[in-house]
Symmetry: C2
Subunit: 808 residues, 2 copies
Amino acid sequence: MYTFDTTLSSAVSTGDGRQAAPGPLDPETLDRMLRYWHAANYLTVAQIYLQENPLLREPLRAEHVKPRLLGHWGTSPGLSLIYTHLNRLISERDADVIYLAGPGHGGPALVGHAYLEGTYSEVYPEVSQDVAGLRLLCRRFSTPGGIPSHVSVQTPGSVHEGGELGYVLSHAFGAAFDNPDLIVAAVVGDGEAESGPLAGAWRGTAFLNPARDGAVLPILHLNGYKISGPTVLGRETDDNLRAFLQGNGYEALFVEGDDPARVHQAFAAALDISHNRIRAIQEAARDHGLFERPRWPAIVLRTPKGWTGPKEVDGRPAEGTFRSHQVPMTDTRTNPAHLAQLEEWLRSYRPEELFDNNGRLIPELAGLAPRGTRRISANPHANGGSILVDLDLPDFRDYAVEVDPKQPAVIRQESTRRLGMMLRDIYTRNAEQANFRLFCPDETNSNRLGNVFEVENRCFVGPTLDIDDHLSPDGRVMEVLSEHLCEGWLEGYTLTGRHGIFATYEAFAMVSASMTVQHTKWLQEAMNLPWRAPVASLNILLTSTCWRNDHNGFSHQGPGLIDVMLSKRGTVTRIYLPPDANCLLSVADHCLRSRNYVNLIVQDKQPQLQFLDMDQAIEHCDRGASIWHRASNDDGGDPDVVLGCAGDISTQETVAAAWFLRQIAPDLRVRVVNVVDLMRLFPAGHHPHGTTPDEFVELFTADKPVIFAFHGYQRAIHEIVHGQPDVDRIHVRGFNEQGTTTTPFQMTVLNEMSRFHLAAEAIRRTPHLGDRAAGLLAECEARIAAANAYAHEHFEDQPEIRDWVWTD
Amino acid sequence: MYTFDTTLSSAVSTGDGRQAAPGPLDPETLDRMLRYWHAANYLTVAQIYLQENPLLREPLRAEHVKPRLLGHWGTSPGLSLIYTHLNRLISERDADVIYLAGPGHGGPALVGHAYLEGTYSEVYPEVSQDVAGLRLLCRRFSTPGGIPSHVSVQTPGSVHEGGELGYVLSHAFGAAFDNPDLIVAAVVGDGEAESGPLAGAWRGTAFLNPARDGAVLPILHLNGYKISGPTVLGRETDDNLRAFLQGNGYEALFVEGDDPARVHQAFAAALDISHNRIRAIQEAARDHGLFERPRWPAIVLRTPKGWTGPKEVDGRPAEGTFRSHQVPMTDTRTNPAHLAQLEEWLRSYRPEELFDNNGRLIPELAGLAPRGTRRISANPHANGGSILVDLDLPDFRDYAVEVDPKQPAVIRQESTRRLGMMLRDIYTRNAEQANFRLFCPDETNSNRLGNVFEVENRCFVGPTLDIDDHLSPDGRVMEVLSEHLCEGWLEGYTLTGRHGIFATYEAFAMVSASMTVQHTKWLQEAMNLPWRAPVASLNILLTSTCWRNDHNGFSHQGPGLIDVMLSKRGTVTRIYLPPDANCLLSVADHCLRSRNYVNLIVQDKQPQLQFLDMDQAIEHCDRGASIWHRASNDDGGDPDVVLGCAGDISTQETVAAAWFLRQIAPDLRVRVVNVVDLMRLFPAGHHPHGTTPDEFVELFTADKPVIFAFHGYQRAIHEIVHGQPDVDRIHVRGFNEQGTTTTPFQMTVLNEMSRFHLAAEAIRRTPHLGDRAAGLLAECEARIAAANAYAHEHFEDQPEIRDWVWTD
């Protein structure tokens, strides 16, 4: 059924004919590798099907089969073939290799290999190298309390969960950056290859420097089908595949066929060629310098889906078709013919010749696996926390904005610029250990982090021009107009034991939101595995925020990632909204030291009022939320109303609202509470940073109205505070999905979060103002009307609003 | 500064030398087109800079310049060049063309053209074809109360907002499907081309059938820079670009240069060749049948960024560099030298020769624009609602599951299979008008919608094999393993006046969540424009949900899109959680008839209990939420506790919890309330579907405890119900980010939403049970423990739980 096309590299192709399998493997090695592969395939089928009798030491009976069959066979034999050959490469050449399985639903294949090479039993001693261990291996797979069906956090040697498809290449490049000796074998499924994030990730070649980075070896595994339809690339001609890969910076090596011996020989040849090519590229660049972008090898592997599985099931083709995607026969407990077919299939691998009487892989085969930390499943790069080197961080206090505590909110500065200075010095101090990178969709300058360019360049491996600005193949500032690549590279970089930050326009963080979610899931699971050492947190700076994307308009205005992250487990999610530069510095220092979190830091890049001096900022960030006495006039006593706020513009408007209320209603006792750690608003039982009822009351009183100005979508606050005392009294103003290209203040007016709207809400919620309320509300409305009229006439904000500083 | 490489098609290249500009344009036409282009460029600069003196009838003074300069110059001249040439193509060949601007920040260019061809004044009469109108055109751009800086909903002729980058090609293919005579010119920016969704969208060629679909003409516009760094494709060699495009199914035509006359000639030639090629491909397929995938033309256009703008600003290169990205000189009001440079720049286009004394484009140039609905800005395909043909819908009652109202929750069926039958007949009834498609990432069968294959095939334009299942280039079931493509194609399809549904695994709807958000923003704005006719809603079926992805594990379990959509404006967002098949049918019928919404329908694909007969379902869906008396035992009176639910599994567990409570505490009066329209829980003031306090009390009582089982992340309910009476009493159980590969019931146990957890919560919240509570809680805990033990031992759920039907 499979056709063998001619290929680019005839040395590698299995060819059209059926001559003796030519290739670099001597017959004995070939035979041993085939049997090792059989062992892996056997374990794959056993994991999917068996709950007893794991080595078929007795005839297979219905009750040996699990009642629910959950797993994916189709991609597994291909994944195992690749694994077996990477083992040879490692053993023969002492190569340092990790393996990322894009078609991660082939979980049992990777688990099987980890078991065959012993790591699995080291990590999970109960899954021992004997029949009892084999039985448990099978029983754990895809069962309650066991392990997931996909390549997952629980799989030793994995830094890539293959559930949500599309990220294997971005993870691979992230892992390869600054790991000069590492080879990252990245298997790309032909289904996954249809996804946008994967399609964009081929371009990592423009950012991979052979002189200082490791190599990514993509292996495009074409088995032709997805769940039910054909794959686009699986039906592509070799010519077009070659052109596509060439256009992305690769030279394609084709391996095709369904005859195991021939494919093994061809794949061995392709891997040898690839490795030689990789080393030649690296040596040339390291010895003589980098003169042009290299053309990296990439292997295209065409093998049948469900290869070596049942050819037909109930008279319909199975091997080589979509019907092999998951479980080829599902009713083996009730259908004796299918049970017999399963037994035949399992026995076709001759398990009795692979495992000894104790259930242990025979030494002849066990010897094929690499040793110690060279085993793919034990490679320390795939347990990045184990080789994590702390960042050498400067003292963040050195970048403080000077604020006179008696005169806060007078000077304006771009807060993120201070962070840029700090990042600059992080680059310098860690230049030697080369374990820090900033990732950003071409907005480093725009986001006011440009001080990094005093010491570090943008990375680009390709031709540079005189007019370019800080561009070099040696650069470690990673700018690419793809949130998917930024996020994926950073994930790969941190999971292999390094540090970084992803700075992006707030609205477009939603582009990669699903990746952030999946990374959160990874960390949530990793925390439960003692053998996985903690990795550096995934730090995301959301800047160019909704409130100050007045210049770009509605599409650029969306604080939605906050909502997405609120529902993830509190053990790993953190959201910080620093109101000014000094708080940002304190928060950033904390986040860069933290482990195993996803930290969102939300702050705009435009000049903003500076509220706290460094000591105050540290204390405030330490508390996460505190009363700002200087902005309050309740004299430490009981207020009439509390103005809460979280976010920079929200804080500015809140402080201005309190100031405005002092002008028009000086007897109204107003308390201002600022929240920098959003998780503080959760009840203590729900999030480790949450507040107890007493703490909550201390901040917000037990029963006074709270007007809360929130940076994000306003109703999200109600999701957070549920369970705190008397939450009905909390009235939130926030981003309300109103926006366009306009002025900064008009953004707060459109969303009814301006100082005057907040003041009006406070007045409305303070019953004892009595008859005076109407007049005060009219005053607020007049101010809003005046601001609107001015902006519509002059195309900018009223000077008294635009230039407002706090001077009372 | 610009180098002219040799190109594939030498007929099109401007060549290396500087001979007289060869090409298809006679000198007079060339001259007129150049001047038309000048007019567009002039209007672009004027919109960005001027608030007065729009035609420079007097010397430029500082006060003529806007105080805030917001807009993007860099890409605009290239966009205008393309527009001018498409106009020629349309006029000469009566072509039917729409224009999608990927680099949509070039908004003023597209607005300028719409103005030049008169549409703008027809749509916005106040922006008249005279000096006053020109002044208003400038003053509206990027100002409060005006129009956004990007190509936007407000731009006539646009179906693509260019804010969040990456979707121009998927929108283009969506627009071309089933529009045989339409040519969709899709300009791809070289920045945008780095994004994953764009990179994946080139593959639309594998789904575009020249016999029945229109054409997409990609124009890859390389101007070399993003905001500050170079673009990856802008630095690519022609060879690699050609290979890349070939690998994606295109033949590349190169146009390069910075000499306007030469580039205009070359682009005219490229466009002629492209059009000839498109028509030849289509005619061949239409006359003789489709034998192989055609190779479609694609134009690569290399021109300087900010072309014809200032060469230098303050001694630094501007034209051709990233410094032209937005506003080349920003301080023109305060820097007289820059003001003079701006005036010189504006006058370089000779506005006095382009516009007459009344401010009207001179007839000689105005004649270049096409007429009537052939104008790009007036093409009805770009105002899809204006040509929308209603779907011929079958009676959804015909697909009803027979449910005995006296014996509900006894039969199990796959609810989505009923929808599949309905979709099948929608295909049949609308085959002639060809205006309906289902989009799905290769999961149509998996999602139990496979009945569509009785009448319709999967679409694939490429080689097919005997073993393929319902695959044909004529198919209209669009399966591709890319949520980005599914969503983008459907958006393009509906915005051009057709109908469809996107069915996807719930968790992976997050992959394209940002697109859903941006489409929502589009609809929100479109509703405010009377000239934009309503389009069919974007219908998203979220299936294979978290509760029943027990077989795929944690990565496949995530109901996050609900949270994302809750914050969008109520005018356009709808979320439905049908508990059974008949409700699904009723909801689907409603959604397919609706206009201008984003409808999320959330329902799993596995066999599920059927609760309501069709009449009950219709009434229930009509109400959106109602008391299920048959499941309650409060006899229409006051209950002790309310069990609320939204979602299929949530409903099953809730009904079972009520049943269980009747077994163990028959005197406890329990009311069951089911919510199918999630928006009903909002307060009436917040969402048009929201409930008044009275309605809310009628459902949930005024003060009784409510145990609410929610399909999604549990705290989201608190975001929704804030503002309803006494919400502190609402205790929600829902998806709590706990999952793995396990059994169905274990998923509810892990997330503490099982019937026994719900019953226990009801007991805990019902104080009058007194001493009995402890015993009842122990009973609940015992049931949970037994379920856990059974699942861990047998790898499946207890039969009494798995097979539970409601028989009391």
